[in-house]
């Protein structure tokens, strides 16, 4: 009986200890932009069974956090990017989602500090879980994942479509320019529309369907003219930023990012 009591107390202490704080990272790297406000922070936890936890966060990830695993490889680390967690809100709700990643990178000393080289670019195309609050409705589990996946598919389709545009880099880097491009009827035209242009009326709002035809590929036109893309944009602006940032950060194999070691 006494042993049982001791075991229970021990278990409780163990649980309390586990809940207390995250383990202090043993290594911390930041990008070489602004030391006070780094765009990317990579933290490696203490090793356990040869592997350490990896956490990447920072404004460049648009509020997302990457989790993974790091193993010592000579002076550097071999890194596996396994999961991305993302959260964003808007005026009438929020969205929380996670993606499973399948990417690898190496973190090695470089002449100017450290270099994170993407060996296998992680793709953000496998949402793993999602929860959504829309006004007072909560959508979780399979339904949440399904609805989030559709939205993510649509955003990715638009992002891919934009990549072929001549001013793609300007659009992807400036959310204001992007929204003017996507929805000039609301955020203002760069050049005034032709008088008498074709209109698609949805919920009392007239979409310029001539503009849609000129600037969007066939599968996306119905999405814009129905107001679906506008809702995707208004309800998940952070997701668009993530889609663009992801391509810029880890878009292709062999991308190298310069980091510096910032002792934790």
């Amino acid at each position: 009986m006494v042993k049982c009591g001791i075991a229970l107390v021990g278990l409780e202490l163990l649980l309390l200890a586990a809940c207390a704080t995250e383990p202090r990272p043993s290594e911390k790297f930041i990008d070489q932009s602004d030391e006070a406000k780094p765009g990317l922070v990579l933290q490696i936890g203490p090793p356990k069974d040869g592997a350490s936890t990896l956490r990447i966060a920072g404004p460049l990830l648009q509020g997302a956090t990457i989790e993974g695993e790091a193993r010592r490889d000579g002076e550097g680390w071999q890194v596996a990017l396994l999961k991305l967690s993302w959260f964003s809100n808007w005026a009438n709700g929020w969205t929380q989602a996670s993606f499973l990643l399948d990417g690898t990178a190496s973190l090695k000393p470089a002449p100017s500090g450290w270099a994170l080289e993407i060996e296998k670019a992680p793709q953000l195309d496998s949402p793993d879980s999602a929860s959504i609050r829309y006004f007072d409705t909560y959508v979780r589990d399979d339904k949440g994942l399904e609805e989030f996946s559709h939205r993510w598919d649509r955003i990715q389709a638009v992002v891919s479509d934009l990549a072929s545009k001549p001013d793609a880099s300007a659009l992807s880097g400036d959310i204001r320019k992007l929204r003017r491009y996507l929805f000039p009827e609301i955020y203002g035209y760069d050049t005034p529309p032709a008088p008498g242009h074709a209109k698609a009326w949805v919920q009392g709002f007239a979409w310029n369907s001539d503009y849609t035809r000129q600037h969007f590929s066939e599968p996306l036109r119905i999405l814009r003219d129905s107001g679906t893309l506008l809702r995707d944009f208004k309800e998940s602006p952070g997701l668009w930023r993530l889609a663009f940032a992801w391509k810029a950060l880890w878009g292709r194999d062999g991308t190298v990012m310069a980091l510096r070691n910032a002792r934790p």
Binding site: A91, W94, T137, E147, R151, V202, G204, P219
Partner: protein, 750 residues
């Protein structure tokens, strides 16, 4: 023994090591198996290929709990799916490349109960509608009901509107299915329906189906929120005079709890405007609510509701103190059992008590009276109601839902009058000694019973639908050595809806509806229900009305709605009181031969867009009543004459509401509500003032950065132009208080 266990463990481990997962790949649109699909498993470089059945065996994930499975096939969109340890089968559905899911899959919350709105029967307001309109000294969900077509104007301080020209008492309210004795607070100023508690309200003002008894002009079905999310949720609201706090949590799919309440803090705003001494007891409301549901199996659902509502005020005017205190308790339990796939059994039990204390304290002001003498009077009423309802909903085929059931309502009512009086100078000689008085009227018990059968039918799918039923009601009054019975009444009801136009230009659908029905209501708490007041058993019947309605509903392709409804209602056996001696309160007789009629029409139009919402509601009503009286009888109430047609006090000829909400962006909205009411006719032929209040509400809301906490601020003002009105000195009365009423609110929700 230990050895055997080890062998089993090793065998299991061996089995685990060699376990495989069956992957099946299908064409998403056709459902056919896809051959030659390349499958890759995260952490392995090996590729697998599906056979002609679209199947392939993959190694079970062993090292990590979840791995990614990727399926690729030329011409198809690559599909990735999670495979968990222990999973024995994974199905991957692939669609042709280039297909992007469209509008119908946009994240969108459904509006609860919205589909319950039916032409010729009911209108529904959701919690979103209620939150958008809520403001005022006390936030009340009723404010969203008051602007609906068919609802007569009442002003800001009366929550008891006339529905389709009926007496406010002809409208019955239910909370989660249980009838409520008195859902009002501060003697009818507001209701107990807190906007944070309510999920939706359905106002049935058409041909109400046979399942509902003791209702004549309107049925207000209030549904409280049902926690459905396993995360904990909090709603906190701080408004002009009150503080609300509600907590919700679901436990899996099977159970959940809602707890919450409201307290007012009028002391603070009164102090702010320098009127701390205005009330002897500052107006207060203290409400608490609890809801618990449990679905032990998919076929059984059980709900327990508890509500405790108290309110009161005492005001001192020129040394005289008037007080009002009210307490209400409602406990209800509902059980639904899906007996078979086409038979649902419902059971509802409830207990409801309501007590009031109204009275005064006044100093005796007679020239010769010694100082310090106080007259007091306190009238208390206690009402208890026990309710049991059970029914079966049988769906023999897709075209019919047949309901049959019985309901019993036992109500006990009593009244007490206590105080102290002084004969004073009226006595000879003058007597200034206190004369305590105490009288108790042991109320009768009233048992109201009903049985019904009702059929919601579809004659031509999508074109001709309806509801028809028959209801029998009967009441027995007993107690005090008496037994009074009403004659049983039969209430048939029928409503038809014919959709004659679909998908024509900008019109999505257009339908007409018509219906007719008999309704009855018995006043269980009438203090004169006694043979000494002229009531005779089996001669007595409930008040009845014959209600007829015809309407037109138009649904536009852009979500616009237009509703027109006209009605005619005829009353028979209506109760009223008269007196044989105006100076003797014991000479009152209860009559039940009153008649009357109400006719009118109403129009509702609604349009919602991305940047603005507009709704228009217009109601016209003409109600006139007739109390025949008899020889030697005089009216006991000057406003209800005998032998002459008269307009009841609640009647309003014209009520017009125009609501415009401008939404420049998702965070900000401005609601402007303009009202015109033509005033109430009086028995003398005059009218109260025309009313044209304009209410404005500015709302700003959003979520705190990177958090799930929602915030909202609003500033509202009711009757903003009140000070500019031209006040007619001859007006008998006014609905409103004559100056603008500002209100503010701050809400947090997690």
């Amino acid at each position: 023994m230990v050895r055997s266990v080890w062998i089993i463990v090793l065998l299991l481990a061996a089995f685990q090591a060699s376990a495989e997962v069956l992957a099946v790949v299908l064409d998403q649109d056709l459902g056919s198996p896809l051959e030659g699909v390349q499958i890759r498993v995260q952490g392995s470089d090996q590729a697998y290929m599906t056979d002609e059945k679209g199947q392939v065996e993959l190694p079970s994930p062993a090292s990590s709990q979840r791995v990614l499975v990727t399926a690729t096939l030329l011409g198809y969109k690559t599909v990735k799916k999670i495979l968990a340890t222990g999973q024995v089968k994974i199905v991957l559905e692939m669609s042709l490349e280039g297909a992007v899911e469209g509008q119908e899959l946009v994240v969108e919350g459904t509006k609860p109960q919205q589909t319950d709105a039916q032409g010729g029967l009911s209108q529904v307001v959701t919690s979103q509608d209620i939150q958008a309109q809520t403001m005022g000294i006390v936030e009340d969900a009723m404010s969203a009901i008051k602007t609906l077509p068919g609802v007569g104007y009442t002003g800001a301080f009366d929550a008891r509107p006339s529905i389709d020209g009926g007496d406010p008492s002809e409208t019955v309210a239910t909370l989660d299915g249980a009838y409520i004795l008195d859902p009002y607070q501060w003697s009818g100023t507001y209701t107990i329906f807190n906007p944070d508690l309510v999920d939706s309200i359905k106002l049935s003002d058409g041909i109400i189906g046979a399942p509902y008894g003791q209702v004549m002009s309107g049925l207000l079905e209030v549904n409280s929120k049902t926690p459905s999310d396993t995360d904990q949720h909090l709603d906190f609201g701080l408004s002009t005079t009150g503080l609300d706090l509600f907590f919700q949590q679901a436990f899996g799919d099977q159970a959940g709890v809602l707890l919450g309440g409201k307290v007012t803090w009028m002391e603070v705003p009164l102090a702010l405007i320098g009127e701390s001494d205005l009330f002897v007891t500052d107006p207060y409301i203290r409400n608490a609510t609890a809801k618990l549901y449990w679905n032990p199996t998919p076929n059984v659902s059980w709900t327990l509701d508890g509500n405790l509502d108290t309110d009161g005020v005492a005001i001192g005017v020129d040394g005289i103190t008037l007080h009002l205190f009210e307490n209400e308790t409602l406990v209800s339990s509902a059980l639904k059992v899906l007996v078979s796939k086409n038979l649902l059994w419902n059971l509802m039990l409830s207990y409801n008590s309501f007590d009031t204390d109204v009275g005064f304290q006044a100093p005796l002001r007679e020239p010769d009276a010694p100082p310090g003498l106080i007259s007091t009077d306190s009238t208390t009423q206690d009402d208890y109601r026990y309710q049991a309802r059970t029914s079966f909903d049988w769906t023999p085929n897709e075209s019919h839902v047949i309901s049959y059931g019985v309901d019993e309502m036992l109500e006990n009512w009593s009244e007490g009058d206590n105080g102290t009086s002084y004969p004073g100078a009226r006595a000879e000689p003058a007597d200034f000694s206190p004369k305590p008085f105490s009288s108790n009227l042991s109320g009768k018990n009233t048992l109201s019973s009903g049985a019904y059968v009702d059929d919601s039918f579809t004659l031509v799918p999508g074109t001709l639908t309806g509801e028809g039923g028959l209801r029998v009601d009967h009441s027995v009054v007993f107690g005090g050595g008496e037994l009074l019975q009403t004659y049983p009444v039969v209430n048939p009801r029928l409503r038809l809806t014919y959709t004659f136009l679909k998908d024509w230009g900008l019109i999505q659908s257009m339908d007409v509806n018509a219906g007719s029905g008999l309704y009855s209501q018995f006043p269980a708490d009438n203090e004169y229900m006694d043979t000494k007041n002229g009531v005779t058993s089996l001669d007595l019947g409930p008040t009845r009305s014959w209600f007829n309605v015809v309407g037109l509903d138009v649904q536009g392709t852009g979500g616009e709605t237009l509703n027109l409804q006209a009605y005619y209602k005829y009353y028979i056996d209506r109760f009223y009181t008269a007196t044989t001696n105006a100076s003797d309160p014991n000479a009152t007789v209860l009559k039940y031969d009153g008649t009357g009629y109400a006719w009118g029409f109403d129009l509702g139009a609604k349009k919602q867009t991305t940047f603005w919402d507009f709704s228009l509601s217009y109601s016209f009503d003409d109600t006139e009543l007739y109390n025949p009286g008899g020889p030697g009888l005089s009216p006991s109430d000057a406003s209800d004459p005998l032998g002459a047609w008269y307009y009841p006090s609640y009647q309003v000829f014209n009520t017009l509401y125009a609501d415009l909400t401008v939404k420049p962006n998702d965070e900000f909205s401005i609601l402007t509500q303009a009202t015109v009411a033509s005033g109430t006719p009086t028995t003398s032929g005059g009218r109260t003032n025309w009313q044209y209040p304009v209410d404005v509400k500015l709302d700003w809301h959003g979520f705190y950065s990177l958090s799930k906490v929602r915030w909202e601020y609003y500033v509202g003002c009711e009757d903003v132009f009140a000070l500019l009105y031209f006040i007619r000195p001859t007006a008998a009365a006014s609905f409103n208080i004559g100056f603008p009423i500002p209100s503010v609110g701050y809400k947090l929700s997690y």
